[in-house]
């Protein structure tokens, strides 16, 4: 269960998130849509624990004060952040990285480390589910990977680290239609009653593949509208400008 309450985030005195509230129940998939500059990536970064933001408000996840935890502790608590731009790490082998990450997370969760053969079997199955080229196993993490390969690698990590809350930041960016389908299938295979997801995207396109339970519109650092999956379709038809203007008008009337 994730509760975000009156969250603000500023960077260099500039407020990017401005009173954001959001609740996600176990097993639910929520989508956050919004125009450029709405604060979508900032929300992902603040959830992940990136330095450099002044943050107020609260984020509670399974009873834990997420904001007081280090990024690695958040991973241990079940959070996974799929990056919009996965970082290239030359010199660190992909499988070595994956196993180190997996065992770190398992230690944080009080589980035993995974043995090599179990690990390899699990990695093989996860690579199969995202149709990943096996030659990428022994390459350095994301180093020289294509856009699609990087995103598959993110979903591979997600499958291996078994989060209970996955935040997917613009996972569709830079993907052609085939890669989008494969990545979405990988994500859908990981949907379960105990795993929540927050899918952050600019376009409705991805939500045709990963069908959300709830859709929220983020603008000016707060959620201005929420609805079911049909809201994504409506947004695509009318555009953000109109939606934002209407929401502002509604807010004005209410006042």
């Amino acid at each position: 269960m994730l509760y975000i309450n009156n969250l603000t985030a500023s960077i260099g005195g500039r407020k990017i998130l401005d009173g954001l509230d959001l609740t996600i129940n176990p097993g639910e998939v929520h989508a956050i849509m919004g125009p450029n500059g709405a604060g979508k990536s900032t929300l992902a970064n603040v959830l992940g624990g990136r330095d450099g933001y002044e943050v107020t408000g609260s984020i509670t996840y399974n009873g834990l004060d997420l904001l007081s935890l280090k990024p690695e502790e958040r991973a241990g608590a079940g959070l996974f952040l799929a990056f919009q731009y996965p970082v290239e790490i030359p010199g660190v082998g992909n499988l070595y990285f994956l196993r180190t990450a997996m065992n770190s997370v398992r230690r944080l969760r009080g589980l035993d480390e995974i043995g090599v053969s179990d690990f390899l079997a699990m990695a093989e199955a996860a690579m199969e589910s995202v149709e990943m080229d096996r030659s990428l196993k022994n390459r350095s993490v994301n180093d020289g990977f294509s856009g699609g390969e990087k995103k598959r690698n993110e979903i591979l990590q997600m499958a291996m680290l078994e989060p209970t809350l996955a935040v997917l930041d613009e996972t569709d960016s830079g993907l052609d239609i085939d890669a989008l389908r494969i990545v979405a299938n990988g994500v859908n295979a990981l949907r379960s009653t105990t795993r929540s997801m927050l899918v952050i995207t600019h376009y409705q396109r991805l939500l045709g593949y990963i069908v959300p339970d709830r859709v929220h519109v983020l603008a000016g650092g707060r959620i201005i509208r929420s609805g079911g999956k049909e809201l994504a379709v409506e947004l695509e038809a009318s555009g953000y400008t109109e939606t934002v203007a209407r929401a502002a008008a509604v807010a004005g009337t209410a006042r």
Partner: protein, 449 residues
């Protein structure tokens, strides 16, 4: 003490009159000492020594080493790998036959100690100690000729391929009165021969020691020589070494230099490309931390046309470590068609660490391809965040990225046993500083509310 007084003191200590050396050597030593008395030791005004404070080293009251110091085989085996081939072990600059492994005789391979050759009236040695003009590159080069009493002599006959790597181990012992070890080693790879050399510098104890070594390698036409240098000397060691290489036509030479230990280490590599179409790759990794100083002067001189040279040196600088890359490429007017590159990348882990990097290109002909590049940077914070979001704690993330940077150089070592040993000592060395960082982190975490 003046340079002259130091030279006189070292001469008197190192050269008892009754040593019974051949007359040519007595003359060479005398001329070296008189050169040293006249010119002194280099100062920071000397371009090749400008980043090193020599005063405290020269004033260190070092006493030239004597043969006969002992060390247990168990200790040596802990300090150096067993690569299966011949292994020469020098203790404080003198061959310790009890610790050596000569292995099976290989036809066309000669392995001997310089000391043994000095007593057998060898005719190859005079030119190796004295090239006739009585000029020395600097005071330490002269001091080496003045004092060197031993070293490795390795000759590979034409066309002979030596399969197993030949190890040369230099080990210092612990002595309250600091000892100066001086060796002069010589490798002659005749035309078409092939050999892999592994030079290791290690030591025991906590007292200062000083080593001033010279290794000369003559790579004949079409010969192929691979040289590895792993300097993992004792913490208070001052380690000076020169690798002086001359290459014939179509020859290949490569060197991988790993500088890990010592308080002050200076590993100079000089390569002269004398024959056409020769190629050379000089790689290095230096890891100064604490208050260590690792100096890497590298010179490649293109004399013959059509040669290729590569200099690839990387450094990881932590705490108050000081690293120097002083890389020179000289292209003589005769060296048309030269292809020379140089790259130096540095990873700085601490605000107090220092790196001096200095590319020096002296190109005296037009027909050349020459490129050089330098970077000085820190760990990629985006990469650290990425690893941390995958559950990897910050100290581990930093250590992984640091090791990844160093690993590029480690992976250049082709011999599998040697590579895994280098990997082991490099990661051990890097881990000891990251562990320290982790400790500091834990302390502040306890204090925080």
């Amino acid at each position: 003490m003046s340079s002259t007084a130091i030279a006189t003191r070292l001469r008197d200590l190192g050269q008892p009159a009754d040593r019974g050396e051949p007359e040519w050597l007595v003359r060479s030593r005398a001329s070296a000492f008189s050169w040293l008395a006249e010119h002194g030791f280099p100062t920071q005004k000397n371009e090749a020594w400008r980043y090193l404070r020599l005063g405290p080293i020269i004033d260190g009251e070092f006493r030239p080493s004597r043969p006969g110091n002992d060390l247990s085989a168990q200790i040596v085996n802990q300090l150096v790998p067993d690569l299966g081939g011949p292994r020469l072990v020098f203790v404080d600059g003198h061959l310790h036959t009890g610790l050596c492994t000569f292995g099976e005789d290989v036809q066309g391979l000669t392995i001997a100690s310089i000391a043994s050759l000095l007593t057998t009236r060898s005719n190859v040695l005079p030119a190796f100690f004295d090239d006739g003009d009585h000029e020395y590159r600097d005071g330490f080069a002269a001091l080496n000729v003045g004092l060197a009493g031993d070293g490795a002599f390795i000759a590979i006959a034409a066309g002979v391929i030596v399969e197993q790597p030949i190890q040369i181990v230099y080990c210092s012992t612990d002595d309250l009165q600091p000892v100066l070890s001086t060796t002069r080693s010589c490798v002659v790879a005749e035309p078409g021969s092939r050999v892999v050399l592994v030079e290791t510098h290690v030591g025991v104890g906590v007292n200062p020691s000083f080593a001033n070594n010279v290794t000369r390698i003559d790579v004949g036409q079409n010969a192929q020589v691979e040289h590895h240098m792993i300097q993992n000397a004792a913490p208070q060691a001052v380690q000076f070494g020169v690798l002086d290489v001359t290459q014939g036509a179509n020859s290949h030479f490569s060197s991988n230099a790993f500088s890990l230990g010592a308080s002050v280490a200076r590993h100079e590599v000089r390569v002269r490309l004398d024959g056409e179409a020769a190629d050379v790759t000089l790689a290095g990794l230096y890891l100064p931390s604490g208050s260590q100083h690792h100096d890497n002067p590298v010179t490649v001189e293109h004399v013959a046309p059509g040669c290729t040279s590569r200099q690839i040196y990387n450094g990881v600088l932590d705490e108050q470590g000081h690293g120097v890359f002083n890389g020179r490429i000289i292209v003589q007017p005769s060296a048309n068609g030269t292809d020379a590159t140089q790259s130096n990348r540095n990873l700085v882990l601490s605000d107090r660490a220092e790196i001096d990097t200095r590319p020096r290109l002296e190109i005296l002909t037009d027909d050349v391809t020459c490129a050089h590049g330098v970077t000085v940077g820190r760990l990629d914070e985006d990469a650290i965040f990425y690893l941390r979001t995958r559950g990897i704690a910050e100290p581990m993330a930093r250590s992984m990225l640091t090791m990844a940077f160093a690993n590029e150089m480690v992976q250049r070592v082709e011999n599998v046993s040697l590579r895994s040993w280098v990997e082991h000592v490099v990661s051990q060395r890097l881990d000891s500083s990251t562990r320290l960082a982790a400790g500091v982190d834990a302390d502040t975490a306890e204090v925080a509310p």
